[in-house]
């Protein structure tokens, strides 16, 4: 399930537009995930999950940084995300279904903020990109 050249170009083009605000959007995606899918909160008993929480913002920034790294290293996601795949496999063990929920919320968030850029083709490219990232994160589970 590799991304075609056109798909990579779309993802990179949108990421350039996101600029320094990837963290803001990732945070919004997390907030939407926690609200729409409360079961996901069980992975964060150690965080203050109330709206506007600084800890959720910090976590959003972490997620953002990982995604930005992935965009930069589309040719070698397993290599670039190796540390994160180990972390998820051996410590976090987030059920992969939850990655779909976060990805859904991230796409909704980006669609809200960049409606003019969010064509069906852009959505499909991003969906495929996120799919590759999440399978990399779950790749060492067993």
């Amino acid at each position: 399930m590799a991304l075609s050249a056109a798909e990579r170009a779309m993802v990179r083009a949108l990421w350039r537009k996101l600029g320094d605000n990837v963290g803001v959007y990732a945070t919004e995606a997390l907030e939407r995930t926690f609200l729409a899918f409360p079961g996901t909160k069980t992975y964060f008993p150690h965080l203050d999950l109330s709206p506007g929480s600084a800890q959720v913002k910090a976590h959003g920034q972490k997620v953002a940084d990982a995604l930005t790294l992935a965009v930069d290293q589309l040719d070698d996601l397993p290599g670039a995300l190796s540390f994160l795949s180990d972390l998820h496999a051996h410590k976090l063990r987030v059920d992969p279904a939850n990655f779909q929920l976060l990805c859904h919320c991230l796409l909704v968030t980006l669609a809200r903020h960049f409606p003019g850029d969010f064509s069906p083709a852009m959505q499909a490219s991003l969906d495929k990109f996120l799919s590759r990232v999440t399978s990399t994160l779950a790749s060492k589970y067993r």
Binding site: E28, R32, L35, A36, P115, A121, A124, K128
Partner: protein, 142 residues
């Protein structure tokens, strides 16, 4: 899984805006579905699926109209959708997985068209509502 009073109010609050763009929203939703998840096209061998095709527009309108029926009968969605539920169970037999994909694409479409209305609360309420619709449509499968 039923809707709380405040969820019902939230769902109905943006319905008017959606209703006014029903055909466009339905068409865009299907466009996004077929772009991101090409396997869903297998249910429509009898259609011209090029973006903007008259058949897509008609079908998109039908889908949004059905959602509208559910909104107008939000206190008893199951009875409003009895015919559709039978249609899906005995004739269409759409694999339930696809309802999630369609719902996701509808929510992305709503987010892109109504960015300031599509708050996290509205998103969560509509996700739950679409989930309820999907279970009703698949409840007679077996």
């Amino acid at each position: 899984m039923s809707l709380t009073k405040s969820e019902r109010a939230i769902i109905m609050s943006i319905w008017d805006k959606i209703g006014m763009q029903a055909e466009a929203i339905g068409t865009e939703t299907l466009d996004r579905l077929f772009s991101s998840f090409p396997q869903t096209k297998t249910y429509f061998p009898h259609f011209d699926l090029h973006p903007g095709s008259p058949q897509l527009r008609t079908h998109g309108s039908k889908v949004v109209a059905a959602v509208g029926d559910a909104v107008k009968n939000i206190d008893n969605i199951a009875s409003a959708l009895t015919k559709l539920s039978e249609l899906h169970a005995y004739i269409l037999r759409v694999d339930p997985v696809n309802f999630k994909l369609l719902s996701h694409c509808l929510l992305v479409t709503l987010a892109a068209r109504f960015p300031s209305d599509f708050t996290a609360e509205v998103h969560a309420a509509w996700d739950k509502f679409m989930s309820i619709l999907s279970s009703i449509l698949t409840e007679k499968y077996r």
